[in-house]
């Protein structure tokens, strides 16, 4: 588990996802979905980056 989160990309992307979520209440209602979709994309990228790092370190 520690290995999985030692890839800095995953951590950085989680931080970016949090920034996007923080923008949701500030955005006008018409564009809130943009912040949500971007946040979800970063969560997916964080998971993929962590898996990538984990598989590399395993091999």
């Amino acid at each position: 588990m520690r290995e999985m989160f030692s890839d800095r990309r995953a951590i950085v992307f989680i931080v970016f996802a949090a920034v996007c979520v923080a923008m949701v209440p500030l955005a006008d209602p018409e564009h809130r979905w943009v912040a949500w979709v971007t946040a979800i994309a970063y969560v997916v990228l964080a998971v993929l980056s962590a898996l990538d790092h984990w598989s590399r370190s395993k091999s």
Partner: protein
């Protein structure tokens, strides 16, 4: 006198657009130049053409946001718009001299806000419009980064079993012509419209157009011509920063970065949100670099760029406010 003032402000706005092309549009071709797909001269001509052609595709939503959603329309006068433009141009030239890829768009928003506040106080700022712009100052590079990485991953996944590397390389070099054209269209659409917004504001403020007027065709054409000419004579200091100092790109990375940035600009231009083309392409380039590893990105340069962004709105705000006060004293 009013008509002369309008002419001077319109000419200054077009000069700003030209400087914008000179300053920002150089970024739009950075990836094509750094991957050696086009020579600098050909890349500049390619981008300038698509900057101009953007008027055929996109509406004028961004222009309306700049003209009507940043400050109360009643406070806009020839002096305010002129001070805003001088502040934004001064800020652009300072950052151009320093080789920093800051945003002309945000310099313009900061300039309008600064001059208007200097004239009538903080209550003239329109919270809703500024919030919309502020949110996308943060979101646009993040969207560009995420899209840049996603497109890179999709390309890598689609072609990972393909072993004719040279052929693939050639294919993406050609593909970059299309992605660079798309990005230049997005750049022309979003950035030229900011100047249209300023000209629209001054035409409304001087009574040449009613408050609910849309952007006249001559304004649309002259703004796109000015930004195209600016691109055509664009500087190379910033191209170097964007194209090679942030991360080293291959043609496949160039296609991913430009497509990501173009998609972001197409969306924001259609939604009437003024964003920075510089922010967007920088985010996309970082996203492509981060596909491999974070150390592929030169974070020191990226950090310097971020600081320049942070300082742009307050810097242009201050310069424009001072310029407005000088105009007020002189007149």
């Amino acid at each position: 006198m009013t008509d002369l003032g309008v002419v001077i402000v319109v000419a200054t706005a077009l000069a700003f657009d030209y400087v914008n092309g000179f300053h920002d549009a150089a970024n739009s071709i950075a990836t094509v130049v750094s991957t050696r797909v086009l020579s600098p001269r050909a890349a500049v001509a390619w981008a300038a053409f698509f900057n101009f052609a953007a008027f055929l595709i996109f509406g004028t939503h961004v222009a309306n946001t700049i003209a009507k959603d940043v400050v109360l329309q009643d406070v806009l006068s020839i002096g305010v718009v002129f001070a805003a433009l001088v502040g934004a141009i001064a800020w652009d030239l300072i950052t151009f001299y320093l080789g920093l890829p800051t945003s002309s768009s945000h310099a313009l928003v900061g300039g309008v806000a600064g001059a208007a506040v200097a004239k009538a106080g903080g209550h003239v700022l329109l919270e809703e419009g500024l919030r919309k712009i502020g949110v996308f100052i943060v979101l646009s590079p993040l969207i560009g980064l995420a899209l840049g990485m996603i497109i890179s991953l999709v390309i890598m996944w689609a072609f990972h079993g393909y072993h004719r590397v040279e052929r693939l390389h050639t294919g993406f070099r050609r593909g970059q012509l299309v992605s660079a054209a798309a990005f230049s269209l997005g750049h022309g659409a979003n950035d030229a419209q900011k100047t249209m917004g300023i000209i629209l504001a001054v035409l409304i403020a001087s009574g040449h157009l009613p408050h609910d007027a849309d952007v006249p065709l001559w304004v649309v054409l002259s703004a796109h011509t000015a930004i195209g000419l600016g691109t055509l004579t664009g500087g190379w200091r910033i191209v170097k920063t964007m194209g090679s100092k942030i991360t080293r790109l291959q043609p496949v990375g160039g296609v991913a970065a430009e497509s990501a940035a173009a998609a972001t600009l197409f969306f924001t231009s259609s939604a009437g949100i003024p964003v920075s083309t510089t922010h967007t392409i920088t985010g996309a380039i970082v996203g492509v670099g981060a596909t491999h590893r974070l150390s592929a990105v030169r974070w020191g340069v990226a950090g310097r760029v971020v600081w320049a962004w942070v300082l742009t709105i307050p810097g242009a705000f201050l310069v424009s406010a001072v310029v407005y006060k000088v105009i007020e004293v002189l007149s």
